[in-house]
Symmetry: C2
Subunit: 191 residues, 2 copies
Amino acid sequence: MSLEHAILGLLNYEPMTGYELKKLIDLSISHFWPAVQSQIYKTLSRMETDEWLTVETIPQESRPPRKVYTITPKGRTELFDWLEKPIPPAETRVAWLVQIFFAGQMEDSKIIYLLRHLLGIQQQRLNAFTNIPKENRETMQNDAVRDRFFWMLTVDYGVAQTISQIQWLEKVIRAVENHDYRLPTLEANAN
Amino acid sequence: MSLEHAILGLLNYEPMTGYELKKLIDLSISHFWPAVQSQIYKTLSRMETDEWLTVETIPQESRPPRKVYTITPKGRTELFDWLEKPIPPAETRVAWLVQIFFAGQMEDSKIIYLLRHLLGIQQQRLNAFTNIPKENRETMQNDAVRDRFFWMLTVDYGVAQTISQIQWLEKVIRAVENHDYRLPTLEANAN
DNA sequence: AAATTCATGTAATAAGTTACATGATTCC
DNA sequence: GGAATCATGTAACTTATTACATGAATTT
């Protein structure tokens, strides 16, 4: 699992509640590791049991108490052990590639409809990425240049992958529109 | 879910057993939708309950009976409904990007070690992709040009994404080696 | 002699999603 | 008046993984 390590990493900046973690994850890590609220709360209580975190419960009037989680030395050890250990990149599941795989049985017009839809989504994604640097500059106050560099790298990666996808989709749409069913060659990709 | 639809698609070529499906998936769809054996068997029995498939059990001497699954008209309807409907691309979970996100807290040498490791894996992947066309020409006997075009497109996509990742990793390794922590600009990606 | 192929399945566990539940306060 | 914010949690369900189990026949 990686959500626990994402949480450890964030709590290593400063102690936080589950609610605050959720907001922070949505702005940053969610781009490559999304997490829903219920999952965060469940994971936090497991991590507390494992003694990676301690909790301080701060009562409030007319609201549930804030449960502020702090990383323990044990948690910090776990975090750095994990950070330094190479991970085999997980297999990605791409459902729309399953559609493409069987597209031979579909009409051209329907395939193009699917591809254009995907292209639109990727273009939107690319657009959304351009707004991230601003958001983060506002929300993440830590001024360490090095930290920020690596945060922005993850955005840069998303941008690079998205651009590559857009170019691929444009190429394929052109091919299908021209009824050009020659097999793509591997060489053609190395531009 | 998409494994069911992958199975429907394959059984729409010809009836098969779970064992044969597993082998075929490993050679083709597993690149973007991996499936372990137990998951395939479980899914098949659910699909039979849903009447997307029928089974014919063929006894064998000294071996478990072959259970040959055939797609039903209901299953075929489900397949084509699904194939034509745009799917919101699933969020991908990339654990190593979580590592990069927190890499600001690591030594350069350890970061470079991680990045080189990833680069090696992607280069191997790229290499493995070049062998797929041969494999498939042997195992998939269906000679429809159109079918093959779309099968190969999914490989082409993998190649394109992998090349893009390799280039990104090379760029980042260079930057970290030179202690060049200037923020990447979005514009630089549009080569 | 050992590994692989054929061929099925079950059980336990993990990780994540969706939906539900509560309820005051503050912003538009 | 309605939506968003703050703040916690539980329950049911889905999907997938890991590990176990059996056992003959064939290939290396």
